[in-house]
Symmetry: C2
Subunit: 216 residues, 2 copies
């Protein structure tokens, strides 16, 4: 199918590459139509790969991935255009990490609000589904990089959209376990997981880890 991936950084590259490998037609979107990282990605990924502006990518995709930097996501999605987002599933992977105060970064929104909620509020006719933001981008599309059982989370207001994205996580990316945390306010919990993820990453000196929920 036709998929729009907004963002040309590590996350956008990892998601786009996996989707292209699966045989999908992927259009990577960025602020400008001549982004060199997007151009390089297209050259490396064959005839079904293309790139353009955020609006080009959003108009093209039947399903969209938000892989932009969290602090720039609302602006990027505004550039993508509400008309191009309307009625579509937007898989929101972004984390609102603010690096301006040093490392580890803080969150630019949290606790009583979240980026996922802000996106859903700004684009009420788009089906925002938050997921994948709790792991490194290579683990997102190849969970077997972390051995054994471990878990992914998902949240959003539209049950059918969550079911579709859960299917994508399991059958395209290889996730075995996806926990539904409820409506889009669950994005607060998923984004506030980042501080402990970042501490563990600094401790382990590798991003190839995840959590498994263990229960009685």
């Amino acid at each position: 199918m036709k998929i729009g991936v907004l963002g040309t950084g590590m996350v956008g590259n990892a998601i786009s590459t996996k989707l292209a490998q699966l045989g999908h037609q992927v259009r990577m979107g960025s602020r400008t139509a001549d982004n060199p990282k997007a151009s390089d990605w297209v050259k490396a990924n064959g005839a079904k790969a293309s790139h353009g502006t955020f609006a080009d990518s959003a108009a093209y995709g039947e399903i969209l991935f938000n892989c932009t930097a969290g602090t720039a996501s609302l602006e990027a999605l505004t550039l993508a255009g509400a008309n191009n987002l309307r009625g579509k599933i937007l898989i929101d992977i972004a984390n609102p990490l603010d690096f301006s105060k040093g490392i580890p970064p803080t969150l630019s929104v949290c606790n009583t609000d979240s980026l996922g909620e802000q996106i859903q509020l700004a684009f009420p006719e788009t089906k925002v589904v938050k997921t994948l933001n709790t792991v490194n981008c290579n683990v997102m599309v190849k969970p077997s990089l972390v051995p054994g059982d471990h878990d992914m989370f998902i949240c959003g207001n539209d049950s059918a959209a969550k079911a579709r994205v859960t299917d994508i996580l399991k059958n395209w990316f290889g996730w075995k376990s996806v926990f539904d945390l409820g409506d889009i306010t669950g994005a607060r919990a998923m984004e506030m997981f980042l501080p402990i993820w970042l501490r563990l990453m600094m401790k382990f000196q590798t991003p190839s880890f995840n959590v498994k929920i263990v229960k009685a």
Copy 2:
């Protein structure tokens, strides 16, 4: 040994009871010397159990546990008295949960600060060690309630104090794995884990779960 447990709620009760079962002399502390919950606990836990004010408990204990409600912890510790806290290890279990806006609660401090840091700043001569706040109180003192391997976190500025508390977690409470997240700023990460813990608790309808860190 003599241990002071500040707080008479579910957490203080679970910690005090476990310590008493291990043969320690435990003094539970509360705002008033005649707290009925503390009195009932003493009656149920034998000759080595006692109770008093926060100051009585803090003066008595060689090691102290902060089991007060997080939004009241700084006031409780002020009542306990800097003189009674000086030079001692304070194991901070509290979470700054604000229930005033409904369920799930928000955090009264997070992101650029934490309760653990606020306590350490207010009582610089006390060795604040944050731990146990990421699991239910019954799991804190009996991790085997959750089957299989799962992990505890710890942070604090004093390495010797963290080593002592890690020993307590492992040898008194039965924890097999304790991850050191660094200095007391790690409390931001540990307290911001609560939103996802609360979502999972609502989903599972049981607090008997924990996370296991899985890595390559």
